[in-house]
Symmetry: C2
Subunit: 245 residues, 2 copies
């Protein structure tokens, strides 16, 4: 039996001796594409029970069964960090979700702002991207991708204790992101807010400035695309306050 | 005359009264696509003379002439930071070049490692991506994209004074990138080295470990894709030692 290399996200509970039935897509991938057979092993995770080695017990054309053997890694939760962003073009939105999952955001909230073009998103497709990124990066957790909500509505019920890192292109050349973050006490829930390509409307800016939870930062002297800004803010936050320490 | 919004990279020298002849592609973009006409203004940069306002003096179907009016921004050079990376799939390689230009790398060097799949790159296409990113992000400088070179050959003539930030997936969970960078003296030339998806070969790792210029860092507890790692390293370096301060 070779070492398990393939990582697969499943919905079912995982534990010693637990059988994991496969659907047709999963069976096709493991047995037709990757050519696994009885006795071969796969790494499984469901976002709750850590990572387990699953051994192929039945392999069929339209299904199959894996049986959990041993836990290979415990559940590792990312820090309590949400990413709020205004959806942009399809490829760049996909990219933001992939990177947020890889970089350890705990929840991804697409928000509609005054200058956001997208009126809807494919939540199911974005969630699938988050799953794929978790499979790829060795994570044992998959961030939830929420459906598109209005920024105003999200701010109406913003939790008092959750700080909000606000990255706005108008702050180009402002005070350093890193210095500000490093001076902040660690711990407690956070969120990152990335504006749309056209920036925030005046009324949105005024509202954000008035929120005590908001921490504005600059991301350097060049104007970053929204997808670059999302990755940059996630990286700085993780390095200064998150689990990269 | 409306405010100039379009930014265009040109090859010609820029200065007061300097005429800038347009080629057919540029004329088509400005006059057919963007519907500019005589007297309209465009922002021009060539990577050497800063940003200038150019006013349309002649507009034709296959060409035209802009005349430089006034400098709108001085040349802003990025820090002396090279990015070395092993080319991956086309879309992700394009992405790395775009992000490196946006995030202020001064030179981009695709390198072939033992586990790099790509045997060639389209240098001209990658250079065009860097130009487009500079047009988009308000930069006045365009990083040079070099042709693909072997990593071994690049290291054979590595400058004694250029430090090399080595981001390797084997260092997952190692010492913090940020702490290490912040403890480093600022100033002097640097480079970032991003490995291929399969990591570096043993012999390459040994060689890198033996180089006094090499500074190894970890990029957190999850395994990052090569394109994510490139952006993460550029962001951390700019925030800790570069022009984001």
């Amino acid at each position: 039996m070779a070492d398990a290399k393939i990582r697969l996200y499943v919905d079912q509970p995982l534990g010693v001796g637990q059988p994991v039935p496969l659907n047709a897509d999963q069976a096709n991938y493991l047995f037709a594409v990757m050519r696994l057979g009885r006795g071969d092993a796969v790494l499984l995770f469901n976002g709750r029970d850590g990572e387990w080695r699953g051994v192929v017990a039945e392999a069929g054309k339209r299904g199959g069964v894996l049986v959990c053997d041993a836990q290979t890694r415990p559940l590792q939760m990312p820090p309590d960090l949400w990413l709020l962003f205004a959806p942009i073009k399809k490829a760049r939105t996909d990219f933001i979700v992939e990177k947020a999952a890889e970089l350890g955001a705990s929840r991804i909230l697409p928000v509609q702002t005054r200058f956001t073009n997208a009126e809807r998103i494919r939540q199911d497709r974005l969630q699938a991207h988050a799953v794929e990124a978790a499979e790829q990066c060795g994570g044992t957790f998959v961030p939830e991708v929420c459906d598109l909500q209005g920024l105003d509505k999200v701010l109406d019920t913003w939790p008092a204790e959750r700080r909000l890192l606000w990255c706005d292109e108008h702050m180009v050349g402002g005070s350093s992101a890193l210095t500000g973050l490093l001076a902040t006490a660690r711990g407690g829930p956070w969120a990152i807010l990335i504006g749309p390509e056209g920036g925030f409307a005046e009324s949105e800016q005024a509202r954000l400035r008035g929120l005590p939870q908001v921490v504005p930062i600059s991301l350097g002297p060049r104007i970053l695309r929204a997808d670059t800004a999302a990755v940059a803010a996630l990286v700085l936050w993780q390095a200064a306050l998150g689990d990269w320490q």
